[in-house]
């Protein structure tokens, strides 16, 4: 009996879902997954921490204090201090700012370039499509990490160069997805109807095709955040990304290359590693959750 009642209650909920708008129903399905919601909240907390902790903290990232170096965590220095006596708690959040900030900038530029070129390739086809797709193919055949190391190594460690090289290799992925979507959407009847009504190309792209593609771009961007964070921190760890003294979660782990830090001073290298891990995991899970919510056919 309670089973039957349960069924009725659940059915009512489903009924409600069908009344929601497209994005409303996406969020409805997303919310049903506890893991995705938990990660969304955790992600928000990490981002808020990275924005606000450096503003309100009494310490600064550069204030060194030789008398106070290599201190384990304490009340004054929540995550201890490093070999120059700098407060690691504030450096943790500042490093997060840089790591997440770089990832955000890279992903946004990638998406803008990728969507524009993908739309052009998919919509106009023919020669321009061939050229753009050939370029994508070349870029996707690059040895990714090695090429980043080469470029950053040659031009020197700077954030703009790092962003440039990640975008340079990264836009091809989203361009191909957008092109594929456009190609399949173009075949649908309503685009033919638009054509018959004499709606201009630009208007057709922006009013009718883009909103359909947007869902895929959002999923790509979320998962892209995770992979860019991983690459940036790895490069910075190798000393070929963001250079000290600017902290990122990657170069904050670098001291662990010294035996003494690795074996006895965990507070120096573990927190930034955990920071990378948690934020990457959150973006991955939220991205997966969004993909399932946007395209329910994919799951089950």
């Amino acid at each position: 009996m309670s089973n039957a009642e349960n069924a009725v209650v659940k059915v009512k909920k489903v009924k409600k879902e069908s009344e929601l708008s497209y994005w409303g129903s996406v969020f409805f399905r997303f919310r049903k997954k506890k893991m995705s919601m938990f990660c969304l909240i955790l992600m928000t907390l990490i981002v808020l921490g990275c924005i606000f902790v450096p503003i309100i903290s009494p310490h600064t990232i550069t204030s060194t204090n030789v008398a106070n170096m290599n201190q384990p965590p304490s009340m004054t220095h929540i995550l201890g201090t490093d070999e120059l006596g700098r407060d690691l708690f504030i450096r943790f959040f500042h490093g997060g700012r840089i790591s997440l900030g770089i990832a955000l900038v890279v992903v946004v530029i990638e998406c803008v370039i990728g969507v524009i070129l993908g739309c052009i390739a998919g919509f106009y086809g023919k020669l321009i499509d061939t050229i753009i797709m050939r370029i994508c193919e070349i870029l996707m055949s690059f040895p990714f990490i090695m090429f980043c190391i080469t470029v950053v190594g040659i031009f020197g460690n700077s954030i703009p160069i790092l962003i440039f090289v990640l975008v340079f290799l990264g836009w091809a992925g989203i361009a191909r997805i957008v092109r594929g979507q456009i190609l399949s959407l173009r075949e649908l009847e309503y685009m033919e109807a638009c054509e018959a009504l004499g709606i201009s190309d630009i208007k057709r792209i922006f009013k009718h095709l883009l909103p359909n593609v947007l869902a895929y771009v959002i999923v790509f961007a979320t998962l892209g955040m995770a992979s860019v964070i991983l690459v940036e921190t790895a490069l910075s760890f190798l000393g070929l990304g963001v250079a000290p003294p600017t902290p990122t979660w990657g170069n904050m782990i670098q001291p662990a290359n010294q035996f003494i830090v690795l074996s006895t001073r965990w507070w120096i290298w573990v927190p930034p590693g955990v920071g990378i891990f948690l934020s990457v995991m959150c973006f991955n899970i939220v991205g997966d959750g969004l993909r399932d919510a946007i395209d329910p056919k994919m799951k089950r």
Binding site: A7, K10, V11
Partner: protein, 375 residues
């Protein structure tokens, strides 16, 4: 009372089925010797527990199949015909599916008995020796029902090597013979092909050959022609009709097409929303359908003989099985609906030994098809 009956079933082998009938189940098996009955399904319940609620796909279904008989299971899609048949050999995916009740006896063996007191399922190992051997299936989708990465010979050979202990070579030769039996041209060549190189009709013939491989006692054909072109459909039906006389097996023929039923079957069970609404020999069903749903089905069948220009349509849609309407599930679409239909599920009336109907409107002399609004 129930317990006694179960004991009877456990202990007595050669007893009249009629004598053991549970009154409320309404099985019209009086006078039927047990030996005549190959498959007996009583009170079968198969539910699916999903996120969106419990789907009562098969909800208290009774039917039986005699030896050598062809039984038609008819109803709209989603009425539980396929799940009923798949429940017999337990190839419903569990979870989300679950066998919630009922009793299935096949060839003297109890395959399943679930009630408040016990939950008996024939051990998986014994069940496997029945599947593909005593009971085999022909499925609806020939395009996807064959494994795309194995050659035809391997797929037909598998059950023979498993159940009949044939060697690979013997099974291969037998496969060729079976392909020839289902009238596939060049069987020696086709046997070494992969399914993707065959057309839908050819693949369905392969499925039939595979189902016949172990000379089953019961063949369950689940909409075997639905996915095929009309001309191919006719060929496959003809083939099956032809084979029917040769293999001497009972057949359960599942379809939503009454025309096919008329051509193939001896007896028909009409299902609606997980329930049996009417069951009758074929001529009787077409001559005097009792349930308003059956009447609707027959009336909506295109008929060359009539002069009417428009096809009859049963109003409304198949209900969502997670939220069945109360009472008789057909009441929202029924032209003879009464207040009572909305409250209670109707009892099962026996019109003749073979003909039963579940409807409140049945009054012992048949439901007139010209009935009006009463309530």
């Amino acid at each position: 009372m129930n317990e006694n009956l179960n004991n009877d079933l456990n202990n007595v082998d050669d007893v009249d089925i009629g004598a053991m009938m549970v009154p409320e189940s309404g099985m019209p098996a009086v006078g039927q010797k047990k030996e005549d009955i190959l498959l007996d399904v009583k009170g079968l319940k198969t539910f699916f527990h999903t996120d969106n609620g419990t789907v009562r796909a098969v909800n208290d279904v009774d039917f039986y199949v005699r030896k050598g008989e062809t039984l038609g299971l008819v109803g709209e899609s989603g009425c539980g015909k396929s799940i009923s048949s798949m429940s017999i050999t337990r190839i419903v995916e569990t979870p989300p599916g679950k066998y919630e009740g009922g009793e299935i006896t096949f060839d003297g063996k109890t395959l399943l008995r679930i009630n408040e007191n016990e939950r008996y399922l024939l051990p998986e190992k014994d069940m496997r020796s029945i599947r593909g051997n005593d009971i085999s299936f022909i499925f609806q989708e020939p395009m996807t029902s064959l494994n795309p990465v194995f050659k035809i010979s391997k797929q037909i050979s598998e059950p023979m090597m498993l159940h009949r202990g044939m060697t690979k070579k013997e099974a291969h030769e037998e496969s060729i013979r079976l392909l020839d039996l289902v009238r596939i041209p060049n069987p020696e060549r086709i046997v070494d092909e992969y399914p993707f190189s065959l057309s839908g009709g050819m693949r369905q013939r392969v499925m039939i050959a595979m189902a016949l491989a172990c000379e089953p006692k019961l063949l369950i054909a689940d909409e075997p022609t639905t996915a095929l072109d009309v001309t191919v459909q006719a060929q496959v039906l003809e083939l099956m009709n032809d084979l029917k006389s040769r293999i001497n097996a009972s057949i359960i023929f599942i379809t939503h097409d009454l025309g096919v039923i008329a051509e193939m079957c001896d007896r028909v069970v009409v299902m609606y929303a997980g329930k049996v609404v009417e069951s009758s020999p074929i001529e009787e069903l077409f001559e005097s359908p009792q349930h308003p749903y059956t009447q609707g089905l027959i009336a909506s069948k295109p008929d060359m003989a009539t002069t009417e220009k428009r096809l009859h349509v049963i109003p409304g849609n198949v209900p969502d099985l997670t939220e069945l309407p109360g009472g008789c599930p057909f009441h929202p679409r029924c032209y003879k609906v009464t207040e009572r239909c909305k409250q209670e599920y109707p009892p099962t009336h026996k019109i003749t030994d073979e003909h039963i109907v579940s409807c409140w409107e049945y009054n012992g002399s048949g439901i007139s098809s010209e009935g009006g609004e009463e309530a």
